[in-house]
Symmetry: C2
Subunit: 451 residues, 2 copies
């Protein structure tokens, strides 16, 4: 039993049924082009919009798709698959096309954000990992965007790795919260991997390891003289703030400036007010207050609304797990095979057939107003949101930089009308299904009911 | 920007503040032994117990702990750290001790499940990743155990990879749901990695890719003749069940037996009853019914209570995200440094100082009744739950097999009294804090208030 490393690009990050279906397609000689689209079915009440994310990792996964010899040997050993089929897996690579909304685009239910057009075996096999990547990153980008909207001018730092669901979740949450507008992350590996700015303060253990709180502050200030942010709630928050006031002049004489203090427990707004007063009366107006501890967009709205003197926030668990909505009702569905549109009619899970485009309309103020989902061939007015990203298994452009994606996200958030920004009861954005699409769905239904 | 692979064992899977604190310990010459313990502070209402998990990956992480030369070069480049400190990281390995509850042990709030005893730099650095591994696996093991208790004799298969939070979450959810009593998983990589039995059926896309539903069933049956489980809700569930009845004799003549059908939408219990009737009247009493789609322990309880004729369940999103409680209020806290007990007193987050043991008591029927948390040196009656796992950075025994852990979990679940098994309003299990621990906490408070 090894640790689950080296596995995030494995072709076996898939459900068994993908492989058994591939064996079925192989045996039946079904090799035609399939079109799958990824979309969110619906949003839970209280959520007004989504932010697309995860495209970059999806393209990387498709570019690298292959079965290693070790994986093939293991599959052969299961006795579930024929030799002919296993031989076909040996040479399997992704040779298809991908169309998608750029990461950072605001979107809504029923709108595809990614389309895969490829021989059916390839398009089917990758379903599980593509959903896994797109679902999680879209989930967290959408959550982070809500947080950013509640505190647009504050320092916002992702603190979530420890309670994210595994290492990949923590790294990707750092990535997409930065895309959505966070200032940075505490996760060091995300700094190295993605170039995201890193922020950090100190932990209670550092204070506890010292017999004296002031000595702990002093040791920390000497070790991190450019970034002295002191955690003041280990024992008594206001008493610690007074210790900071007493210590600061001594540090100043050594050329070290206290930059900020962090509060991590109790009523954060109340403590912030008291600490602000202590710092100000002690001549430390320049020292900022940073708050953390079970924060999310609802608590931020309340704190900002009450005018709490907080300059920055560390947001962890509730963002990295999207705790009020830890999953999206999303799917990756077959919309066309061998040139024919296809439609699933399962109760409550019907799909719209064919290759689709989303067209966006803005109002006179430039705010987004309504979208139309139509067949790709049925060109409509408005701005098309879905663009070609990969052709024949090759990217059409170099990967977007994180800075570009972040700008695109900010531009998208700026276009949200006020009613969509609300945390409670946002209005339902209008997503119109084109008449051509209704017609095609009815046609497909009639054709299949003839069997 | 690379894909986030090869990173699950990285020493940089940590928060920036761990490294800045390490620089502080280094500069201050603080190298004494620290004792940290991981525990859950409290459970949300409705949850009665927890199941410990994640130890194996934690031990693997500690065994492999080191900074790669690439990581050290990157850290140096940030300009945040001194050369002397960076040199100390080059040789840093985990040389400490680990005590823990075996995976699969049932436990409760305020009970440490893992203790690290090591030079403070080592014990501090690993906080983030240890919490990340223990939190997630304990979260999902505890959720899966509730599901197992609701349907003890059913086939239970993890379907969650696609909506798990990243690849590692999906793999580890497969692992811990199997530990908790699931029959297996659909995640192929978890089969290869952990040896977990794999299960799978077919997807709607397979049916949709065919012009005719019966032909899809036939193709699938030929390709997977040992494991013919047919998905029957793509268009009309009962109509598809009748198609299975018509097809089965034809397949039988070829020596292929339909093993089961799967229903994935609509009212699962109602459809199961109708489908059961169609199958039985069609002479297919041996064909089992497998249900999936947004299932969790609450829905399982209701379906089992209503006597729905379902033989197995595919459980995905709601388990792999622990959707009703997507995180635990857990912590890894300094309890001792340089031989002295330590205590955090932050509001609502006070800790119990010192190295602790948990003693368990059972009633006359052998059901667990109460636990006592005491200092390790203060031996108590009852069964001690925490055992030495690693000494001087080396394991004390070979890794427990998944089969052994699974047996231990089953034995633990069997010891749960009825009131703890309830999904709603379980009784609060008695966890007593020993008088010695109260006394020590008061002593530590008095000592630190003298500063």
């Amino acid at each position: 039993m090894n640790s689950p490393s080296n596995l995030t690009g494995s072709a076996l990050l898939t459900d068994l049924y993908q492989l058994t279906m591939l064996q079925g397609y192989h045996d039946a000689g079904m090799e035609e082009i399939a079109v799958f689209e990824f979309f969110v079915r619906k949003l839970r009440p209280g959520r007004g919009f989504l932010m697309a994310a995860g495209l970059e990792q999806s393209l990387q996964f498709l570019e690298g798709l292959h079965f290693s010899s070790e994986e093939l040997a293991w599959l052969a050993n299961t006795g579930r698959f024929s030799n002919g089929f296993l031989a076909s897996l040996e040479t399997l690579r992704f040779t298809g096309d991908v169309h998608a909304m750029p990461e950072g685009t605001v979107f809504f239910p029923n709108e595809p954000i990614l389309r895969v057009t490829a021989p059916i075996a390839q398009a089917q096999l990758v379903e599980t990992r593509l959903i896994n990547l797109l679902h999680f990153q879209t989930l967290i980008a959408s959550k982070a965007a809500r947080i950013v909207l509640m505190a647009p001018d504050k320092l916002l730092v992702d603190f979530g790795l420890r309670r994210a669901h595994g290492a990949e979740a923590g790294l990707l949450a750092a990535r997409v919260s930065y895309i959505a507008g966070f200032t940075g992350t505490a996760t060091v590996q995300a700094g190295m991997q993605f170039g995201i700015p890193l922020f950090g303060t100190m932990a209670h253990s550092f204070v506890q390891a010292h017999d004296d709180e002031t000595l702990a502050f002093e040791h920390f200030a000497h070790a991190q003289s450019d970034n002295v942010v002191l955690l003041i709630d280990t024992y008594d928050t206001e008493a610690a703030a007074r210790k900071v006031v007493a210590l600061a002049p001594r540090l100043e004489r050594e050329g070290i400036r206290v930059k900020g203090v962090r509060i991590d427990s109790g009523n954060l707004a109340d403590h912030a007010r008291q600490v602000r007063q202590i710092l100000d009366m002690g001549g430390l107006r320049h020292v900022t207050i940073f708050a953390s501890g079970d924060l999310d967009e609802y608590l931020l709205r309340d704190m900002m609304g009450s005018g709490a003197p907080v300059d920055g926030f560390g947001i962890g668990t509730r963002m990295d797990t999207s705790s009020d909505m830890p999953y999206l009702d999303c799917a990756y569905k077959l919309q066309e095979y061998a040139g024919k549109p296809r439609r699933k009619r399962s109760e409550g899970k019907q799909t719209w057939p064919g290759r689709k485009q989303v067209y966006r309309h803005c109002d006179a103020d430039g705010r987004i107003e309504s979208d139309v989902v139509a067949l790709e061939v049925d060109t409509q007015p408005g701005e098309p949101l879905i663009m070609p990203m990969m052709r024949g298994g090759k990217r059409l452009a170099t990967a977007a930089t994180l800075a570009d994606i972040r700008s695109h996200a900010a531009a998208n958030l700026a276009l949200l009308p006020e009613p969509l920004r609300r945390l409670q009861e946002p209005y339902a954005y209008q997503v119109e299904i084109s008449s051509g699409l209704y017609e095609l769905a009815a046609q497909v239904d009639r054709a299949s009911s003839n069997h």
